[in-house]
């Protein structure tokens, strides 16, 4: 299913968001499957973790059912009624349990960022887009002072921007690969620190617009077949 994380709840953590969805599915009385064992848990997963502070139009969640059939329309209505004010449901789709997991099929995410910017700096984005390599030293959370070197261009090939008087709107895709992905805020940090983009980072309004799959030719496909309708 495709869900949103509205701007009002952007600071809810990924875990809290996931937990909230589980409770909503519970209230919606969906025939969901549970794991065996002493503390059974719902067979539920989210496609790609969203950073705290980021709103989203496209969160994808997957839940395994305990039954073979389901009226998708009814299920969507039941879930809609049981979601909190900060989450909306956009689409629901039913697939065979043998289908690829969402988590594995997500190939990239599209972002839109509106951030205060005091100069018209189209040249900054041109420089980024022309650069062959941009290196980001990602601090390792558990090892102080140590870094992991990331090739940013392999995740974010290009960035578009529209500069207005006091703001810039940036749009870009971040690829999700076998080696991982990047956070949108890290991309902004790089633009600020390495390319001198004059932005007020703490005020950045970051929104995930979509998550997509790629076909064999590298063309974007929607996550759910329901998205095609």
């Amino acid at each position: 299913m495709q869900l949103t994380k509205e701007t009002g709840i952007r600071f809810i953590s990924h875990l809290e968001y996931a937990h909230t969805l589980e409770r909503a599915l519970c209230r919606a009385k969906l025939p969901v499957a549970y794991s065996e064992g002493f503390n059974p848990h719902m067979k539920f997963s989210l496609a790609s973790a969203l950073g705290v502070g980021v709103a989203s139009q496209a969160e994808f969640a997957e839940v395994e059912l305990a039954v073979p059939e389901l009226d998708v329309q009814q299920a969507q209505e039941a879930i809609a009624q049981n979601l909190p004010w900060g989450i909306q449901i956009k689409a629901v789709d039913l697939v065979e349990s043998t289908a690829n997991k969402l988590m594995a099929s997500a190939a990239g995410a599209s972002y839109e960022v509106i951030v205060p910017c005091h100069r018209q700096q189209e040249s900054v984005l041109a420089a980024y887009n022309k650069a062959e390599s941009v290196i980001y030293k990602k601090p390792l959370p558990k090892k102080k002072g140590q870094f992991k070197t990331v090739e940013v261009k392999s995740f974010v090939p290009s960035i578009k921007g529209v500069f207005l008087e006091s703001h810039v709107t940036l749009t870009f895709d971040i690829l999700i690969t076998a080696t991982g992905s990047m956070k949108a805020v890290e991309v902004l940090q790089i633009l600020q620190e390495q390319f001198c983009l004059d932005i007020d980072l703490p005020e950045a309004d970051i929104r995930r617009i979509n998550i997509y799959r790629l076909d064999k030719k590298g063309r974007k496909l929607p996550m759910l077949s329901a998205n095609n309708h």
Partner: protein, 618 residues
């Protein structure tokens, strides 16, 4: 239109989810159809306040009326407060995000004396004049209720009127009164509304009374200065809890709160008669909900919230007359939905290992008991009515069934307490460990001993008792610490300093309003949080007013003394409390009136109510 807080602020404070709102079950009304609005204000952070059942009940009941908007607001943590003040943002509710000053009422709950400074701070942050007498015509009425309302005097400078007792009936009455006053064009202004509201039973309007003091500083008396104001204000109660609405839906927060589960109130009141216990006196009489009613509520709440745990709450849940069948049936009926049942506390003498096993059926956690005192002498003084044998039986049964750790709650600084009584706490903890060895054949039992320092409260048998001095409390804490340096025993104790200030306000008078105001201006807030509490700040504010800590906290009050809280009544007779105090001094017990004879506390007669216990009814 909801106004979201700036991203730059939310991204720079701890736990931004405290300020989010938009939860499932929260009530966001179309304000164009709303005639009266009230902000239910909890003077602590979101995750503490959201766990408070009283507001969950009132929120639900008040919002049943489409013309009433009941919303929520909590104290912002200090990091957020700094940002709000710097950006000149007002404290708002979570629902409509309107500033508190936009509401008709701002209603505070008084759970704990050390939260009072937060009330002043929240008013100020919400754009409301802190002192009631200076409040303008268009400002909200600041109201307050809850357990500390039985001595409202330290707050009378800030609160327009108090709600005494249970709110389920009086709060909708108050909303209706406000609707008609507003519809008529607010005749008489604020004063006109107070003239109307004072006629409701259970409302105390402090500005309608004058107080006098004796030369020695003790309280001389209180007299109405308005002919509509009653001599005394008796609490409101719901006589039959089965006949009143209890929420069948609830707000479900995104993040973890303190009590992250359904709270189902199985009965109200407690008649055990522990002499230190404020709740045991002010919430009388005992009124149980029927098992069938509770089961129906439980099912509805599980469906409406998606929670996987129900806590059966009350002052002493093991005393519910139909507890075993209730738990058994709920556990069976809710097994399919993976819902477990829990009990917040267990009395040693009514502890049943069968019940404990059943409530632990899904998840296992430690057991907690509250012997309250270490020696039989002390337990008799406080009328706890449990014995060492009761405790040994309870822990023995628990150990035999696989538990290996227990937590024991005690108090120190009680009347008639000797050093032997303190050391008996350590002995009791050791005996619990020996019991474990006796039953399991090996050691390794973990005992946590948690010790609070006793604060005498109004309307208890110990309201005359002078609290132990700070030095004495510290001496006793240290003595116990030394006696508890034993393997596998953890000793926890509360800061003595906070209990002294708590004691000052618990039995304080109107003169403390100026102390509270001065301490707040000097930065007092979140006094219940040790990192923000400053004893020196309070000490200075008290002495600056020519008052003393000793006078309020440590002074033994004599039999003839009139107390500053006697005009606000939970219904318990002063003569009964005095008898209880005198019996305490000789260690004489008083039986629970629930199943035996009336002990003459006077509550049922004064309130024209009766005990409702379903076993006794049959």
């Amino acid at each position: 239109m909801r106004k979201e807080l700036p991203i730059s602020i939310l991204s720079s404070v701890q736990k931004p989810e405290r300020y989010t709102g938009m939860e499932f079950g929260s009530c966001m009304k179309d304000l164009s159809t709303v005639k009266v609005s009230i902000a239910l204000a909890f003077p602590d952070v979101y995750e503490v306040g959201m766990s408070y059942l009283g507001f969950r009940i009132l929120y639900y009941i008040l919002n049943q009326d489409p013309e009433v908007a009941a919303e929520r607001t909590y104290a912002p943590w200090t990091d957020m407060e700094d940002k709000m003040r710097a950006a000149q943002l007002k404290l708002t509710t979570l629902e409509s995000t309107r500033a508190l000053k936009e509401f008709d009422f701002v209603g505070f709950t008084l759970q704990y004396e050390l939260a009072y400074s937060n009330i002043l701070n929240m008013l100020d942050l919400g754009g409301i004049t802190v002192l009631a007498q200076d409040r303008g015509e268009d400002e909200p009425f600041v109201i307050a209720g809850g357990p500390c309302v039985y001595n409202p005097e330290p707050l009378t400078d800030f609160v327009d009127f108090f709600i005494v007792g249970e709110g389920e009936e009086v709060m909708p009455e108050l909303m209706n009164l406000c609707k008609s006053w507003k519809a008529e064009g607010k005749p008489g202004g604020r004063a006109g509304f107070l003239q109307r509201v004072v006629k409701l039973a259970g409302i105390y309007v402090p500005s309608f009374y004058d107080v006098t003091y004796n030369e020695d500083g003790t309280f001389a008396g209180i007299k109405p200065n308005n002919q509509l104001a009653p001599q005394t204000v008796l609490k409101r109660i719901v006589k039959d809890l089965n006949a009143i609405m209890f929420p069948t839906s609830d707000i479900v927060p995104y993040g973890k709160i303190i009590h992250d589960r359904i709270m189902l109130e199985i009965f109200r009141g407690c008649s055990r008669g522990c002499r230190f216990c404020h709740a045991g006196m002010v919430y009388r009489p005992v009124r149980e909900r029927r098992k069938e009613v509770l089961k129906d509520l439980a099912h509805k709440l599980v469906e409406a919230t998606g929670y996987d745990e129900i806590s059966l709450v009350s002052l002493s849940s093991a005393d519910y007359s139909c507890l075993a069948p209730l738990i058994h049936e709920l556990v069976q009926e809710l097994k399919e939905e993976r819902v477990s049942i829990s009990l917040p506390s267990l009395r040693i003498d009514s502890f049943s290992v069968d019940i404990a096993k059943e409530v632990q059926a899904v998840r296992k956690s430690g057991l907690t008991f509250a012997p309250e005192a270490g020696s039989q002498h002390m337990r008799d003084v406080i009328n706890k009515g449990v014995t060492e044998e009761n405790l040994m039986q309870a822990v023995g049964a628990a150990f035999a069934n696989g538990w290996s750790s227990v937590k024991l709650y005690f108090m120190l600084g009680l009347p008639e307490e000797t050093d032997e009584d303190i050391l008996a706490i350590a002995d009791l903890a050791k005996k619990v460990q020996w019991k474990y060895k006796e039953i399991t054949g090996h050691g390794g039992c973990h005992v946590t001993v948690s010790v609070a320092s006793f604060v005498p409260k109004p309307y208890t048998a110990f309201q005359w008792f002078g609290q132990n001095s700070l030095e004495e409390i510290k001496r006793k804490q240290n003595m116990l610490r030394d006696a508890l340096k034993i393997k596998n025993i953890t000793y926890q104790y509360h800061a003595a300093l906070t209990s002294v200030i708590e004691a000052v306000f618990a039995r304080g008078d109107r003169r403390l309003g100026k102390v509270l105001y001065a301490a707040w201006q000097d930065g007092a807030k979140f006094d219940g949080w040790s990192e923000h509490f400053s004893f020196e700040r309070w000490q200075q504010a008290i002495t600056a007013q020519g008052l003393s800590i000793e006078f309020y906290a440590n002074r033994q009050r004599n039999n003839q003394e009139i107390f500053p809280w006697e005009h606000v009544q939970p219904g318990v007779d002063k003569a009964f409390l005095r008898r209880e105090y005198e019996k305490a001094l000789v260690g004489e017990l008083t039986k629970d009136c629930r199943h035996g004879v009336c002990t003459g506390c006077g509550v049922c007669q004064k309130l024209d109510a009766k005990i409702i216990d379903w076993k006794e009814e049959k």
